[in-house]
C-alpha cells in the first residue's frame, strides 16, 4: 500500500481500506496533517488545526 499519498483518498476509498485494515485512521490523519503543513502557507484555508487532540 502506498501510504504517502493517503490524503488524496475519497471517503469511500478510505473507508474500504480502513475496513480491510490496510490503513489505519492514524496513518490517514497523519497524511492529511502533513499535507496541511506543506501547503497551508500557500492557500491559507484553515483558521484552526487541532492535531494534538488526536495522537
Amino acid at each position: 500500500m502506498v501510504t504517502n499519498e493517503l490524503h488524496q483518498l475519497t471517503i469511500h476509498e478510505a473507508h474500504r481500506l480502513i475496513k480491510q485494515r490496510k490503513i489505519s485512521s492514524v496513518e490517514l490523519t497523519k497524511s492529511v496533517l502533513k499535507r496541511i503543513a506543506e501547503i497551508e502557507g500557500k492557500v491559507h484555508a484553515c483558521v484552526t488545526i487541532v492535531e494534538d487532540t488526536y495522537p
Binding site: 490524503h7 488524496q8 483518498l9 475519497t10 471517503i11 469511500h12 478510505a14 473507508h15 480502513i18 475496513k19 489505519s24 485512521s25 490517514l28 490523519t29 492529511v32 496533517l33 499535507r35 496541511i36 501547503i39 497551508e40 500557500k42 492557500v43 491559507h44 484555508a45 484553515c46 483558521v47 484552526t48 488545526i49 487541532v50 492535531e51 487532540t53 488526536y54
Partner: protein, 427 residues
C-alpha cells in the same frame, strides 16, 4: 440520535474532516471569521458535529470563511484571505472558501460548509469540487451560527459525488433542537448513484444564462448539458423562470434584514469580543461593534436595519417576502414538468484577489445563479464541469424539496462520464 457501537466501522469512521468555522465545535475555537468571536470556544457541539462524532469522524480543524458567512470571495475574513489553488492570485469563492480549498488540495478528505445564498456551491464551483446545499430543513441548524435563519443550511463539500451522498446520510434528519428541521424520512443517498439518467427530464432556465456571463462559462455549460443529453436525459432548452430577475433584490433585502436581527446578539456583554475602553453599557456595545465587525458585516447590518425600519418595512421587507413566494411558486410549477433544472453555478470564473472588493454589487453578482434556491428553500448541487484556461467551472443542478438523491444521481452520471473531478490543482 443513534448510537454507534465502539467497534463498528461506519462510512465516516476514522476519516479526517475540516469544519467551516461557523459551526460550533465543543472545545474548539469557532471564530466565524470575525474579530467578534476570535476567542470564542463553544461549550457545546452543533447537531451535525454530534452526528459526525457518533460515526467516529476525526475533526482536525476549522476552515476560513468570509466574516459571518457574508461574502463571495473569502476576502471578508477578519484574519486573512484564502487563495484559490488553481491560481493563487485568485479568490476561492465564498463564504465556504476555506472548506472548498481544503478539499480540492487534499488538506482533508471532506469538509462541511454552510450556504445562505451560494456559500457552499459557488466556492465548490470555483475550486472544482462537489458542494451540496440541502433542502431547507433537511439538516439541523442547531449550533450553526446564524446569518439569515430562513436561508441558512449546512451541507457537504467533497471530492466526488459518492462522498457527498455518504455525508448526507450522516448529517440529514429531524432535530428537536431546530424547529425548522423537517420530520421527513432520510433515504440512503447512495441508493440512486447509478450511471443512468435515461428519460429524466431536465430543464435549462434561460434567465440563468445572464447578461455579463463569461463566454467560457457558457461554452462549458452547453457542452456539459449536451453530455447529459448524450447520457439519455431529455433536455428542454426553452424553460423560462421570469421571476429569477428579482431574486438578487429579494435576497439583498431578506438576508440583511435577518442578519441585522441575528447579529444584535453581539453586544459585548454576553460572550465574544468586548471593548473595555468605554464609560457605560451603551458605549460598550457601540464600540464593541465598531471594532468587532468588519466592513461587509456592517454594510449588511445597516441595509437590514434600514429595510426593517418603520416606514420602510412594508415597502422593502414585506414586498420582498411576497416576491419570495412568487419565486417559490415558479419553481414548484417548473418541477411539475422537470426532474431537475441545470444552470451554471456562477456566471464567472474565479476572479483576482482585490478585483471586486471595492464594488459590492459586482461581488454580489457572482452569486446570482445560486441564491434563488435559498429563497425557495430547494436543494442544489454544484459539480466540476470543465475549465476555462485552467480555471474551474461549476455546473449547478437544482431540484424540488427533498430531491437530494435525484440531484446526486444526475451529478453522479455526469461525473462518471466526464472525470473533471479527477483533476488536481497544480500546487
Amino acid at each position: 440520535m443513534s448510537k454507534t457501537p465502539t467497534r463498528e466501522i461506519t462510512p465516516l469512521t476514522g476519516i479526517p474532516i475540516l469544519i467551516k468555522d461557523v459551526i460550533c465545535t465543543q472545545g474548539i475555537r469557532t471564530t466565524c471569521g470575525s474579530k467578534m468571536l476570535e476567542k470564542f470556544v463553544p461549550p457545546y457541539d452543533a447537531t451535525v458535529i454530534e452526528k459526525l462524532k457518533a460515526q467516529k469522524a476525526v475533526i482536525i480543524g476549522k476552515t476560513n470563511m468570509d466574516e459571518f458567512a457574508m461574502g463571495s470571495s473569502n476576502e471578508h475574513s477578519a484574519f486573512f484571505p484564502t487563495h484559490n489553488p488553481w491560481d493563487l492570485s485568485r479568490v476561492p469563492g465564498g463564504s465556504s472558501g476555506g472548506s472548498a480549498v481544503a478539499v480540492s488540495t487534499d488538506e482533508c478528505i471532506y469538509a462541511l460548509g454552510s450556504d445562505t445564498g451560494g456559500s457552499i456551491r459557488q466556492p465548490a464551483g470555483f475550486c472544482s469540487v462537489v458542494g451540496l446545499k440541502p433542502t431547507y430543513g433537511r439538516v439541523s441548524r442547531f449550533g450553526l451560527v446564524a446569518f439569515a435563519s430562513s436561508l441558512d443550511q449546512i451541507g457537504p463539500i467533497t471530492k466526488d459525488v459518492t462522498d457527498g451522498a455518504l455525508v448526507m446520510n450522516a448529517i440529514a434528519g429531524h432535530d428537536n433542537r431546530d424547529s425548522t428541521s423537517v420530520l421527513y424520512p432520510v433515504p440512503d443517498h447512495t441508493q440512486q448513484l447509478l450511471p443512468d439518467i435515461k428519460g429524466l427530464r431536465i430543464g435549462i432556465p434561460r434567465e440563468y444564462f445572464v447578461e455579463g456571463m463569461q463566454e467560457e462559462v457558457r461554452v462549458a455549460l452547453e457542452s456539459a448539458i449536451s453530455k447529459l443529453e448524450e447520457l439519455g436525459a431529455e433536455i428542454d432548452w426553452e424553460v423560462s423562470l421570469p421571476y429569477t430577475k428579482y431574486a438578487l433584490a429579494v435576497y439583498y433585502v431578506l438576508a440583511p434584514s435577518e442578519a441585522s436581527a441575528n447579529l444584535a446578539r453581539y453586544d459585548g456583554v454576553k460572550y465574544g469580543f468586548s471593548e473595555q475602553d468605554a464609560s457605560n453599557v451603551i458605549e460598550t456595545t457601540e464600540k464593541t461593534r465598531q471594532v468587532g465587525f468588519g466592513p461587509e458585516v456592517k454594510r449588511r447590518i445597516m441595509l437590514g436595519t434600514y429595510a426593517l425600519s418603520a416606514g420602510y418595512y412594508d415597502a422593502y421587507y414585506v414586498k420582498a417576502q411576497k416576491v419570495r413566494t412568487l419565486i417559490k411558486q415558479e419553481f414548484e410549477k417548473a418541477f411539475e414538468k422537470y426532474d431537475a433544472l441545470v444552470t451554471p453555478t456562477s456566471p464567472i470564473v474565479p476572479f483576482e484577489l482585490g478585483e471586486k472588493l471595492e464594488d459590492p454589487m459586482q461581488m454580489y453578482l457572482s452569486d446570482v445563479c445560486t441564491l434563488p434556491t435559498n429563497i425557495a428553500g430547494i436543494p442544489a448541487i454544484s459539480i466540476p464541469a470543465g475549465f476555462a484556461d485552467k480555471l474551474p467551472i461549476g455546473m449547478q443542478i437544482m431540484g424540488k424539496p427533498f430531491s437530494e438523491d435525484m440531484l446526486l444521481r444526475i451529478a453522479f452520471a455526469y461525473e462518471q462520464a466526464t472525470e473533471w473531478y479527477k483533476r488536481k490543482p497544480p500546487l
